[in-house]
């Protein structure tokens, strides 16, 4: 691709970008959100037309008017969001849009045969082609998606954050497959936020910043994550994460104690506690039960089969978010769009939604005092630094990071003591990430209890005072922030040893006695 520019109304998304990939290599495209990675790939895949510049394949200039043309020239793209249909089978999905037919009758036998051979070629014989895609685990869906891309017999395969939803194990398997494809002479373009993957598996890296190429470099063992980050953000890396200046506040009271929490097939009797003033990190593989656990504590998890939750030493019942909020507990989930945002409402209304009764004029006149509401919203917008045109702007118009800050503002306004987060920085760029970590830190310093659930170990290591590692529904190990390292966490995430499990439980038990004496 030579001299590619793309202008959207008001923004120059790409500015004279040169980019090339060679057969038989994995080439990583690196950059912050908004750097232009996806736009560039969409141009290559024929989704967008460049404002300027040209695309060349084997030295021949080509023009794609729509994705079909790009596909015909051997370019396949796997987008970040899965494009599979959950209600169709694996085979039907792979051949969606180009069903093999005899006259006008679909030849299902041949479709199934071809689908089988594509999956076998990928080395994923274990996927059943007759199963509905919706009933497959996410990792397998991702593989089906790749199988679909492969079935077009591409020369260039573009993967837009394929590993975002995968566990480290599955990501490894994916790279095995990619390496095999690489061996077949396919050029692979790989977009990811996981810098470690780039260093371990990619041959080349191109770094984009604000729509320009900063550098294209071979990835060698000498490449470091910090080096890449510097190139990405264009300045030296300052610590994004918090400074652990406060000594671990062991004498603080327990805000929350969870005993023997059990969720059918997901969580098997876990015990833990949360103290005031600390950030508790919980990590584990996808499906290890950590998300379900905090969802249960917010009253939105089905099939909770047993356990007790104590809030400030009192046993409490949490059957709905309302119960939890009344007890001073809130949860920000990773599904911002589905579980957080009111996209068609203003930023102000999004912020005040959980605290409307604060703004009533009086008991006898239960109307919302608009001016007070607005002032309050404004105050919290400033507090968390939401960048916006006006508090009356629809929240839909904000960037992901600012939307997340808006939801954070909602709960700060509500003024609760326990704040729980699942993947607080999912899909947020580096700058906004650092800001969010800063708020978490200051909230903890105010004496609130924070729980951060995340599969991102760097995040957990960066923010948490204490780290719980979950594996198959159990807490297998607890770390203080001093003793924890990425290697240790990784080892425990994958299952750890039996004796470690006992250790973890012991440490929980120890606290129980402390808390009763407190």
């Amino acid at each position: 691709m030579r001299g590619i520019s793309k202008r959207f109304p008001g923004v120059l998304a790409l500015d004279e970008v040169d980019f090339s990939v060679q057969r038989g290599t994995i080439h990583s495209l690196i950059g912050q959100n908004g750097a232009g990675k996806s736009t560039l790939m969409k141009i290559l895949a024929g989704d967008y037309q460049p404002t300027k510049g040209e695309v060349l394949i084997d030295e021949q200039p080509v023009v794609f008017h729509h994705p079909g043309e790009a596909r015909a020239r051997g370019i396949s793209i796997v987008y970040q969001e899965l494009s599979l249909l959950p209600n169709l089978t694996v085979a039907e999905n792979i051949f969606l849009g180009r069903e093999i037919r005899r006259y006008f009758i679909i030849d299902d036998a041949r479709i199934r045969k071809e689908a089988r051979s594509v999956l076998d070629q990928l080395g994923v014989e274990f996927i059943d082609i007759d199963q509905k895609v919706g009933s497959l685990p996410l990792a397998q869906q991702q593989l089906v998606e790749i199988a679909k891309a492969i079935s077009f017999k591409p020369q260039i395969l573009i993967l837009d954050e394929p590993t975002a939803a995968l566990t480290p194990q599955n990501a490894e398997r994916l790279f095995e497959i990619l390496n095999r494809l690489k061996g077949q002479g396919i050029a692979i373009i790989h977009i990811t936020h996981r810098l470690k993957e780039i260093i371990e598996h990619c041959d080349w890296g191109t770094i984009l910043r604000n729509g320009r190429v900063v550098e294209t470099l071979p990835i060698t063992s000498a490449t470091t994550e910090d080096g890449l980050i510097e190139l990405m953000i264009g300045q030296e890396v300052k610590s994004f994460y918090r400074q652990f200046e406060t000594p671990s506040a062991a004498d603080h009271r327990a805000l929350l104690e969870v005993e023997n929490l059990t969720i059918a097939e997901m969580v098997k009797g876990v015990n833990f506690y949360l103290r005031a003033g600390e950030i508790l990190g919980i990590t584990g593989l996808l499906g290890a039960g950590q998300n379900e656990m905090v969802r249960a504590m917010f009253g939105i998890q089905e099939r909770v089969t047993g356990g007790t939750i104590k809030r400030s030493q009192k046993v409490v019942l949490i059957n709905s978010p309302k119960d939890a909020i009344d007890l001073g507990i809130c949860l920000l989930t990773e599904n911002r769009k589905e579980e957080g945002l009111f996209l068609d409402m203003s930023v102000k209304e999004n912020i005040t939604m959980a605290s409307l009764s604060k703004f009533l004029r009086s008991k006898s006149l239960p109307l919302i005092a608009n001016r007070r509401e607005k002032r309050s919203a404004q105050e919290f917008i400033e507090k968390v630094d939401v960048v916006l045109r006006s508090p009356e702007a629809k929240i839909r118009t904000l960037s992901g990071g600012n939307q997340q800050k808006g939801i954070l503002a909602r709960w700060l306004l509500r003024d609760l003591e326990v704040l729980m987060f699942i993947e607080p920085t999912r899909g947020i760029d580096v700058g906004a990430k650092a800001e969010i970590y800063r708020y978490l830190d200051s909230l903890a310093k105010e004496g609130r209890g924070i729980i951060v659930v995340s599969p991102d170990l760097t995040e957990i290591l960066g923010v948490a005072d204490r780290i719980l590692v979950m594996h198959e529904g159990r807490i297998v190990r607890e770390f203080g922030h001093v003793e924890a390292t990425e290697e240790l966490l990784l080892a425990n995430i994958q299952g750890g040893a039996g004796n470690i499990e006992r250790e973890g439980e012991k440490s929980n038990g120890r606290f129980a006695t402390e808390s009763t004496s407190a």
């Binding site: 599979l84 249909l85 209600n87 069903e99 009758i105 679909i106 929490l261 089905e302 909770v304």
Partner: protein
């Protein structure tokens, strides 16, 4: 892959599968006890002939529901295409031409609705609600509310029971379901009907011209409406602008009772058949009991609600385990 069910789930599974069959049996039993003539051959022939239009229209409605396009216009479309049929017959006295014109009119209404829905983002309910109103209005206006008598041997033919058993409307029902079955399960149109109902955007991204296939769904539905319109006309011997009032809602109810979901993406004609049978027997049973309209409506509405209640409850028994004495959280209705 053998799944283990507990008793509650097992009974839920049983009810989910067979609840409609059980309820149909109970209903037949009740009607048979109340009415001596209910369990006779001629009454069942009546059931089929009375409800032929409903059964045929339900094929098209099933396509629509799977693709998540609810069609409220089918009843009015039957009336309007029937009127067109009648007017063409009046003008030409050519029954073949008239029948063709009727089907063409019905498909044209489908084309009109389908094109608007496919080419704009307007909610299908609005578009077909509009058609529900204008098509009926046109039907009434074109005839000034009078019916057009069709004097043709074709009407007699349609009302003959050959060897005392089978009449043409019954054959048409069978043909409609055969055609529908092949279209839905063996062609691209059907495959994409499911795909659009599952995730329209993803289907589009797979390179499918979803707009064309949406129009195709409405043309299919329109064709079924056209056939239903002929059946209706033949039964009354006249094109009747006030005909089949409320049929669109009956058809939707039948499809849903059969077990298809409003949320689309799944389902099939097999389910529709059972729903239609249930509703047809209900209509017939209630009307042969000699009830007043008031009781007819009341019982019909109550039975529909009851059936839905049982179906949904049994479905839930299957998917949720028994509630336990959890002190932390009950089943969050999410």
């Amino acid at each position: 892959m053998q799944r283990q069910y507990n008793f509650r789930q097992a009974s839920g599974y049983f009810f989910q599968r067979y609840s409609l069959a059980v309820m149909t049996a109970v209903m037949v039993l009740i009607f048979a006890l109340v009415n001596d003539n209910f369990l006779t051959l001629s009454n069942f022939q009546n059931v089929l002939e009375q409800n032929a239009a409903l059964a045929i229209v339900a094929v098209g409605v099933t396509f629509g529901l799977i693709a998540r396009v609810l069609d409220l216009s089918t009843g009015s479309a039957i009336a309007l295409s029937g009127v067109v049929l009648g007017l063409v017959f009046q003008a030409t006295q050519n029954i073949a031409l008239a029948l063709g014109a009727g089907i063409a009119a019905a498909m044209l209404i489908g084309l009109f609705n389908g094109t608007i829905i496919a080419k704009t983002d307007i909610n299908p309910v609005i578009v077909t609600l509009a058609a529900y109103i204008w098509a009926r209005g046109l039907a009434l206006a074109l005839t000034e509310k009078a019916s057009i008598v069709i004097q043709s041997p074709m009407v007699g033919f349609m009302n003959t029971r050959f060897s005392g058993l089978v009449s043409p409307p019954m054959v048409l029902i069978v043909l409609a379901y055969l055609l529908g079955f092949v279209l839905l399960n063996k062609t691209r149109l059907g495959r994409y009907t499911f795909a659009i109902g599952g995730d329209e955007l993803a289907t589009k991204e797979a390179g499918v011209r979803t707009d064309l296939y949406k129009i195709g769904i409405f043309l299919t539905s329109g064709f079924m409406v056209g056939i239903a319109s002929i059946v209706t006309m033949a039964r009354m011997g006249a094109a009747e602008p006030n005909a089949v009032f409320g049929l669109e809602l009956d058809a939707i109810v039948a499809v849903i009772i059969g077990g298809n979901k409003m949320s689309g993406g799944e389902g099939g004609l097999r389910m529709t058949i059972f729903g239609v049978i249930f509703l047809a027997l209900l209509n017939n049973g209630l009307s042969t009991m000699g009830l007043r309209d008031a009781y007819f409506y009341f019982y019909k509405g109550m039975v529909i609600l009851l059936v839905l209640f049982v179906e949904v409850t049994s479905r839930r028994m299957l998917t949720e385990p028994a509630p336990s004495g959890a002190s932390t959280a009950g089943a969050a209705a999410d």
